[in-house]
């Protein structure tokens, strides 16, 4: 009797063992977590994640900044020629000054490629002195330019944003109390660093200005060189 019972158990166990692998097989293989989540083109309808009731993020399109800085006209490529012209004409002392300047710009943000806009800056300084110590050659220059600035897709702060300005520098040169104005084209190449958020912050801008020369025979003080500007900005 015991022998028959053992035989039945053994037969049932063997049948169960034969049937078990067939029952554990899934209908389809499960996706591997390491497989790329790719789908054939046009097979999946794109969707946008939205939180119900949440306000849509504001798309900021304009960048406005206004600040002050210094322009090192002594680093202008025409520094030596400018001083030589003044000294050869009899001015007792000449230099290319470190000019104080104010600067502002308004740009349209064309993400993710480039921002375009206009920039204006104004600088002033004394270039020479005569026998009379108060007799100075003074220059005030206003630069108006079109700006193109690289707009990185990630828009993170602290990333240098290369920019190029092309425009006209309008110079007012005062000699013996008489003003004279001329205009020369210029190019400025530099970098901007935004220290702040997407809405507001401070922008540090550094660039090098190269101006064209005045016509022959005209007084031609150097008004280019390296400039550094610190300017609060807002985006709206």
């Amino acid at each position: 009797m015991a022998t028959r019972s053992l035989l039945v158990v053994a037969v049932l166990g063997g049948l169960a063992a034969l049937a078990a692998p067939a029952a554990a097989q899934p209908a389809e293989p499960s996706p591997s977590p390491y497989e790329p989540d790719l789908a054939p083109p046009m097979s999946v309808t794109p969707t946008t994640w939205e939180v119900a009731g949440a306000p849509r993020p504001t798309l900021r399109r304009l960048h406005l900044s206004l600040g002050a800085g210094l322009r090192f006209s002594n680093l202008d490529v025409h520094d030596a020629g400018s001083k030589m012209q003044l000294l050869e004409y009899g001015w007792v002392s000449a230099r290319s000054p470190v000019m104080t300047q104010v600067a502002g710009e308004l740009e349209y943000l064309l993400a993710p490629i480039i921002d375009v806009g206009v920039a204006v800056s104004s600088a002033a300084g004394d270039h020479a002195a005569g026998i009379d110590w108060n007799d100075r050659v003074r220059t005030r220059t206003t630069n108006l330019a079109l700006v193109a600035k690289v707009h990185w897709a990630l828009q993170r702060p602290f990333i240098p944003e290369p920019r190029v300005d092309v425009g006209v520098a309008r110079r007012t040169i005062t000699v013996h109390g008489v003003d004279d104005t001329d205009s020369v084209p210029f190019v400025r190449a530099g970098m901007d660093w935004r220290l702040g958020t997407r809405r507001a912050g401070v922008q540090v801008s550094a660039g090098y200005i190269i101006t064209a020369r005045a016509s022959s025979g005209q007084l031609d003080p150097a008004v280019g060189g390296l400039d550094v500007t610190l300017a609060p900005y807002v985006r709206f």
């Binding site: 006209s73 002594n74 004409y89 007792v92 230099r95 290319s96 002195a129 026998i131 013996h176 008489v178």
Partner: protein
């Protein structure tokens, strides 16, 4: 650091270190000059900058009042009047200008006239020219060698009484000065 270096290299304007004994920038015209020939005041490289233009053969004369001692420890002329005074101007004339000392009276005494003659041809742009005063002419009594500044035999002081500007070619002249060394290089 770079910022500091850039500011420092910008430099400062400095006052004239030498002594200006006579200066003319022609900003107020030539009313104080005696003019012979064709002369005009014109603007140059800026509407506020004026120079005098002289036609060939024209000349201008201005009174000077410069007195220099020939004796004494502070005399720059004790060694033969070869240094100390110079004349400088800005012009657009090429060639070699000349500077001469002439007797200002007849018979000659210690009064001296200074004559600057400009030569052509005209050139492009303005350049600064400096000319040292020449040696004292023979009509000036020379100091003796007794090294006594109070000696009764000492000659009188030299007096520069006039400046003549003459042109042999069309030429612009500006910022004309008679100078003597001063400051760190002064006697």
């Amino acid at each position: 650091m770079l910022l500091c270096l850039a500011v420092a290299s910008g430099g400062c304007l400095e006052a004239e270190d030498d002594v200006v004994q006579f200066e003319e920038d022609f900003e107020d015209g030539v009313a104080s000059w005696t003019v012979v020939g064709e002369v005009a005041v014109v603007s140059t490289n800026h509407p506020g900058e004026h120079a005098v233009w002289l036609a060939p053969g024209a000349s201008m004369t201005h009174a000077l009042s410069i007195t220099r001692a020939l004796e004494g420890n502070d005399s720059p002329y004790g060694g033969g009047f070869t240094d100390g005074n110079w004349i400088e101007y800005t012009g657009d004339c090429g060639g070699r200008p000349s500077l001469a000392l002439e007797p200002a009276s007849d018979p000659p005494d210690a009064s001296v006239g200074v004559r600057l003659v400009l030569e052509g041809p005209p050139q492009q742009g303005f350049a600064r020219t400096r000319l040292m005063f020449p040696a004292l002419p023979a009509f000036i009594p020379q100091p003796d060698d007794d090294d006594d500044p109070w000696s009764p035999s000492d000659p009188p002081d030299v007096r520069f009484t006039s400046l003549v500007l003459a042109a042999r070619a069309p030429c612009h002249v500006d910022n004309l000065r008679v100078m003597v060394s001063g400051g760190t290089l002064g006697y």
